[in-house]
């Protein structure tokens, strides 16, 4: 691969590029889904290709192809330069990149048991056993079980002299039970909704998640939701579980701190950010209990790697420190706007996409509460688990989330079950209402493999660490 990358970089420079990088990416995936005892799909996929990114005449150009040869590399490099020159016909400031060292390195993610070597029968056995257990509950009318495996091997080279080879494997699984009665459909998931939980690792991840062992509780809670009380309406003290809080961090901290959004580069599609450059080191994002980091070095996390897709080493960087905004997620280009170097957040969804600023493992750092003490300290509130729906405005200010299940908290104790809980808020007000975060004993990293951004759409695999936390006076039961 090294010779093909070298050919592309040489051709780009010969054609007038002042900078070029090239990625050759080989991905492999397997998805298995079961519904109501039937195998709905078993699918394997392989994708291989090359992408060449250049700066010429001060502008970006990118070309990519599934044909990976010395000849195609040269053609692509020339095409990318021609595209960059077309970009330059519309006036604009020339691209500037923050400095980065050249690296010659190799990085591999953790994987104990290669999931692609595990027989399909073993995989189906886990899913079908879990699915059958869910269906044993007569009020559960629809069940789904899913597992997936994703492996990537990529080579990166740049005209700075870097050559980096990386590979890793991701594994995920989940189950859902739907209780259906009349026009009501209520779902309960494990270990998380929207495809379960995803972790860097191999078959050992599936064994640890233990879908069949958790199916009885999931089915029981789905059935119980049919008889549960509706979510109360009004302002209430809200305790949010780690999985939902991970998504809350994702939508209302991760995305607004992406510096390309702050600078307006994603305005027309995903939106901008309520943050401005002047907010750095001045804006009180949340209460003193809120510290949020971006960390690409967390072991086994979907947000971890050795180097990003610009050849910048993985880093841990604070975004919010004791409530104060102290950082953004950056690229080499955007980092120049805050006079910093890149903190290594550029990742591409395959060979045919340019890298964009993506979250790594963006986490709410743990506090010191036990969950038991937090409930006991709450006189009148609501505890909710597991996301069902999410929506947030184009500046990442006005959000509304719905969850699968909740419980009333009365006089320091969990009480009646609540169905269809939802809550809404405005980002800084919400994070400033946080007065307690549970400890590391309750903290877990949740993997999300469905973060959409960019045009053409790219799907990133990211992660969020969170423990249950309490927010005072949150609006719940919206529009119900």
């Amino acid at each position: 691969m090294k010779d093909i990358i070298a050919a592309a970089l040489d051709a780009a420079q010969m054609s007038g590029a002042t900078y070029a990088d090239t990625r050759i990416v080989d991905t492999r995936s397997e998805e298995i889904s079961v519904a109501n005892g039937r195998v709905e799909g078993v699918e394997s996929n392989a994708s291989f290709g090359i992408g060449v990114r250049v700066i010429a005449d001060g502008s970006w150009g990118f070309a990519s192809s599934s044909e990976v040869t010395l000849d195609s590399a040269v053609v692509l490099a020339k095409q990318a330069v021609a595209i960059a020159r077309a970009s330059a016909t519309v006036p604009g400031e020339p691209i500037r990149l923050a400095d980065v060292d050249a690296y010659q390195d190799r990085w591999s993610g953790p994987c104990v048991i290669d999931p692609f070597t595990v027989p399909l029968q073993d995989k189906l056995d886990v899913l079908l056993r879990a699915d059958e257990t869910l269906r044993a509950n007569e009020k559960v009318a629809l069940t789904k079980a899913h597992m997936g495996f994703y492996a990537v091997h990529k080579h990166f080279g740049s005209t700075l002299g870097s050559y980096i080879e990386q590979d890793h494997v991701e594994t995920g699984a989940g189950i859902v039970a739907y209780a259906v009665e009349g026009d009501e459909v209520l779902s309960r998931s494990y270990p998380n909704s929207h495809g379960g939980d995803w972790i860097q690792g191999g078959w050992e991840v599936i064994e640890a998640i233990d879908l069949p062992g958790n199916a009885p509780r999931v089915a029981e809670q789905a059935a119980a939701l049919l008889a549960a009380e509706p979510c109360p309406t009004g302002k209430i003290d809200l305790i949010i579980d780690g999985s939902q809080l991970g998504l809350q961090v994702h939508e209302s901290v991760g995305h607004p701190t992406e510096l390309d959004r702050v600078l307006g580069d994603e305005a027309a599609f995903a939106g901008t950010s309520f943050l401005g450059l002047d907010d750095l080191d001045t804006l009180r994002y949340g209460s003193e209990h809120v510290t949020i980091t971006a960390d690409a070095t967390v072991p086994n996390s979907l947000g971890s790697f050795g180097y990003d897709d610009e050849g910048v080493p993985a880093q841990r960087d604070p975004l919010v420190s004791d409530g104060l905004l102290t950082g953004f997620l950056t690229s080499r280009e955007s980092a120049t706007s805050i006079d910093r170097t890149s903190n290594g957040c550029m990742r591409a969804d395959g060979w045919n996409r340019i890298p964009l600023i993506r979250m790594t493992t963006v986490s709410l750092e743990p506090g010191d509460w036990t969950f038991k003490d937090l409930i006991a300290d709450t006189e009148d509130g609501l505890y909710i688990e597991t996301n069902n729906s999410w929506s947030i405005d184009d500046k990442r200010l006005n959000f509304q989330f719905a969850c699968e299940i909740g419980w009333e908290i009365k006089n320091g104790e969990l009480g009646r079950m609540v169905k269809n809980p939802n809550y809404t808020g405005i980002t800084p007000e919400f994070w400033n209402s946080c007065d307690a975060v549970c400890s590391r004993d309750h903290w877990k990293v949740w993997g999300l493999n469905n973060c959409g951004k960019g045009e053409p759409m790219q799907v990133a695999h990211v992660a969020h660490g969170a423990a249950p936390a309490r927010f005072r006076g949150v609006s719940v039961g919206v529009g119900r």
Partner: protein, 448 residues
């Protein structure tokens, strides 16, 4: 330019290879695509990309067991390995007694939807269009962001029972968001098969004028309001109905508003919705991803709920005809309508606005998501041109509003429909919809 014959040949060759690898039946979806996209933001081009990819997806059948494998490595050895993988998956999968076998060939209406002018649209053409759009904002001291994109796709489907169909399609998409310094923003979009129909300057002007008009937006108390939705906002409601409700699988699983209500009136008599890939304005192929002919499906007729769309599997499961709405195998979604169309009314958008004493005009929604599947309870935000309507006129711009509203209930409260319809959405799922006047639309919050 994509070669339709080569793509068709690739599909046929892979079917033969799959049979050689042990498949009793085989179906191959081959797609060869060139996509080029120029993005702009901050009044400059900041991303400019091109992609060239070809791939196949194979469904192998052994008895009533199926397996799917796909690859973009198209040399003979890799193709055969992919076939062996699909066959191995099929052999390892449990039997599905309900699987009816692959569909037999049906006559497919030929359509030539590729436009040479789109195929010939170059990076320089895209840059010129982007420049013309940007200029309309720049001269008003506004900031433009958006894209100009073209896609040329050859798609072929073949199966071992004789299905052999192929189509070359083109699409051109342009969007523009114009933003001002006083909280104003405006939006305009274009989608169609012919890039030469993109009136870049006019598109840029439309968005910039809206941005100017929506500057210094104000507050509106949450509550139920009469709304006038422009077509782009209507497109979101209709698409969510499609995803959540119009599939035979969703109906069979009890997740659809149609379940148990076929033949009942659930919406306003002014609402009729069909899925029609054969319509002159429709984009994409006239066959589905199994190679079955797409048929016109009457989903809602004068407010009365019709029947959902099917594919070969769900047609057999439910004892109904195959309407030709299969997605690529294996599809956990089941069949879906991708060419939705809402019937026009007899009003202009100005007449709808003129009939409202106090209400809200919505240019488009943002980040809509489903909270409850059966009523299609949606939440999302308004964006890029929300105005208060008073005494039949747009009187002042509003800050973005959050709505939490059942789409079924909203379409039951339709009081007016525009004559003019627009194609909105993406090249994969474009809907042809009018503007609507709806009573009692629930706004539950606002970005203050």
């Amino acid at each position: 330019m994509k070669n339709i014959d080569a793509t068709r040949d690739l599909a046929a060759r892979t079917v033969a290879l799959a049979q050689e690898a042990g498949a009793e039946q085989a179906e191959v979806l081959a797609i060869s695509e060139t996509s080029s996209l120029t993005r702009f933001a901050g009044n400059r081009i900041h991303q400019n990309v091109a992609e060239n990819d070809s791939q196949i997806s194979l469904r192998a059948v052994v008895g009533n067991r199926t397996g799917v494998a796909s690859t973009n490595r198209l040399d003979q050895e890799s193709l055969f390995a992919c076939c062996e993988s699909a066959v191995a998956i099929a052999k390892s999968s449990p039997a599905d007694e309900a699987f009816p076998g692959l569909p037999e060939p049906t006559p497919v209406t030929a359509s030539d939807r590729a436009i040479q002018r789109t195929i010939d649209f170059t990076a320089a053409d895209r840059a010129q269009a982007a420049g013309a759009i940007i200029e309309q904002s720049r001269v008003r001291d506004l900031t433009a962001a958006g894209k100009v994109q073209t896609t040329i796709a050859a798609i072929a489907i073949a199966n071992s029972l004789g299905i052999d169909c192929a189509a070359l399609t083109t699409s051109a998409v342009a969007t523009v968001l114009s933003m001002g310094g006083h909280g104003g923003s405006g939006w305009a979009s274009f989608i169609g098969p012919d890039a030469s129909e993109l009136a870049a300057e006019a598109l840029g002007d439309q968005a910039a004028a809206l941005a100017d008009r929506s500057a210094t937006p104000g507050i509106l108390e949450a509550g139920d309001y009469t709304v006038v939705l422009a077509p782009e906002a209507v497109g979101d409601l209709v698409e969510f109905l499609g995803w959540m409700g119009f599939s035979a699988k969703a109906v069979a699983e009890g997740r659809s508003f149609m379940t148990g209500h076929e033949g009942e009136k659930l919406m306003s008599p002014l609402v009729s919705i069909v899925d029609d890939a054969l319509a002159s304005h429709a984009m994409g192929p006239t066959f589905d991803y199994e190679g079955a002919a797409k048929t016109r499906a009457a989903l809602v007729e004068n407010g009365v709920v019709g029947s959902p769309v099917t594919d070969s599997y769900w047609a057999a499961r439910t004892g109904t005809a195959n309407t030709g709405h299969a997605l690529p195998a294996p599809s956990a979604w089941g069949p879906l309508p991708l060419n939705l169309e809402m019937a026009p009314g007899d009003a202009s958008i100005d007449e709808l606005i003129g009939s409202v004493d106090r209400g809200v005009y919505v240019t488009r929604f943002h980040y809509v998501n489903i909270e409850d599947p059966v009523p299609v309870l949606l939440t999302g935000m308004t964006r890029d041109g929300t105005f208060l309507i008073e005494n039949g006129k747009l009187t002042r711009p509003l800050k973005n509003l959050r709505f939490t509203q059942s789409a079924v209930q909203a379409l039951n409260s339709v009081r007016g429909v525009t004559r003019e319809r627009r194609l909105v959405g993406t090249e994969g799922t474009a809907s042809y919809v009018p503007g609507l006047l709806i009573d009692g639309f629930s706004f539950t919050g606002q970005t203050g």
